[in-house]
């Protein structure tokens, strides 16, 4: 018989407008690192379900914000790295975006990480001539909020901005310092948790207070 229904989840209900809104949100998030944005309102029915709901993304093992970013930003020209154990999500992205799913993190333009299951230096930081060719990482974490013990500073941040991010590896600050030091090279990170997201571009410096 046929192989039945490998993909059973729809993509964005209104691809044109929703992907524009998601793009605008990601742009705003990367312009103002440390501010937490909500994607639920930007991407209603369809992938995110009824407004604010988590929608039918449960069996893909990924939160709505991370999924929305992948749907809006990836296409057939952007290799995506998902790590292992993501067959359902890989099929879903192949179907809806046509993205090649790569096994080598260094070859990916977009990558989805759960917490810190890979070191940042696995991914392509771009080159001095083409720093824009670097990878963008979508990192799903356990908790994400404004205010807290991690202090961000840099372009887009007046003075400094404290945030709470739970679920990153213990040495993330050191990994990030190395990434930040490579400027203009380095990877950009979009931290997501449920329907919230926060930008962490390579220009930001990060310190953990109380350590």
């Amino acid at each position: 018989m046929f192989e039945h229904a490998v993909v059973t989840q729809p993509g964005l209900a209104d691809p044109v407008h929703q992907s524009q809104e998601i793009f605008r949100t990601v742009l705003a998030a990367l312009s103002e690192p440390g501010r937490v944005f909500q994607l639920a309102a930007a991407a209603p029915a369809g992938v995110l379900g009824p407004v604010g709901g988590l929608g039918p993304v449960g069996d893909l093992g990924i939160g709505p914000a991370a999924l929305a970013v992948l749907l809006a930003l990836t296409d057939g020209d952007t290799p995506v790295w998902l790590g292992g154990e993501a067959e359902a999500l890989a099929n879903y992205l192949r179907f809806h975006t046509g993205s090649p799913i790569v096994a080598d993190p260094g070859a990916a333009q977009f990558a989805l990480l759960k917490g810190g299951d890979r070191r940042l230096d696995c991914f392509n930081p771009g080159t001095e001539d083409f720093p824009d060719h670097s990878a963008t990482l979508i990192v799903e974490v356990v908790a994400l909020a404004e205010g807290g013990s991690i202090t961000l500073s840099g372009p887009g941040i007046p003075d400094h901005r404290p945030v709470t991010v739970q679920g990153l590896p213990a040495d993330f600050a050191e990994q990030w310092a190395a990434n930040h030091a490579q400027f203009p090279c380095g990877v950009d990170v979009i931290v997501t948790c449920g329907a919230s997201l926060m930008g962490l571009p390579r220009t930001v410096s990060l310190t953990r207070s109380g350590r």
């Binding site: 018989m1 046929f2 039945h4 229904a5 490998v6 993909v7 059973t8 989840q9 729809p10 993509g11 209900a13 691809p15 179907f95 809806h96």
Partner: protein
């Protein structure tokens, strides 16, 4: 008559390319009429709502030369997920901009994968649709055929 009617098991899965092609080339009105008669209608949702776009047609001179881009054409596609056990995914790709045609083609592709519906659909939809198409082609060929000119080489006297 001619060939004995095939039992359901004799309509194999590997006819799927043929029925997908027949559905794509069918008159949308015929599909629509058949859909209207369908009872019970399946429950389904759109995995990929109908969307129109351009596809690049590529060709090879003589069928085996270097591939070249011939030009773009408008195409419309849709993918339906028909509920059931297992759920069935139907694909519809049609030339032109008829979203409804792509949707119906996708729905019937999914239903034709269902063994309990296949035999009826095959005989009531796919074969008639193919017959309509081959009849239309025959008429067209006949109409064009009346203006056919057969060039006959005369043996001229001075040779």
């Amino acid at each position: 008559m001619n060939i004995a009617l095939m039992a359901s098991d004799d309509i194999p899965d590997d006819l799927r390319p043929r029925w997908i092609s027949s559905l794509s080339l069918a008159e949308p009105a015929v599909l629509e009429a058949h859909w209207a008669m369908l009872d019970p209608k399946p429950s389904f949702r759109w995995l990929r709502p109908a969307e129109s776009g351009l596809v690049m047609l590529r060709g090879r001179a003589g069928g085996n030369g270097q591939a070249f881009n011939l030009g773009e054409m408008t195409a419309t596609r849709a993918v339906a997920l028909v509920d059931g056990t297992p759920a069935l995914t139907g694909y519809g790709y049609v030339a032109g901009r008829s979203r409804r045609h792509a949707e119906l083609a996708a729905l019937f592709d999914a239903l034709l994968q269902d063994p309990t519906r296949r035999e009826d659909l095959w005989h009531d939809l796919v074969l008639p649709v193919e017959a309509i198409r081959s009849e239309a082609r025959r008429k067209r060929a006949a109409a064009v055929g009346t203006t056919r000119v057969d060039f006959t080489t005369m043996v001229r006297g001075d040779v």
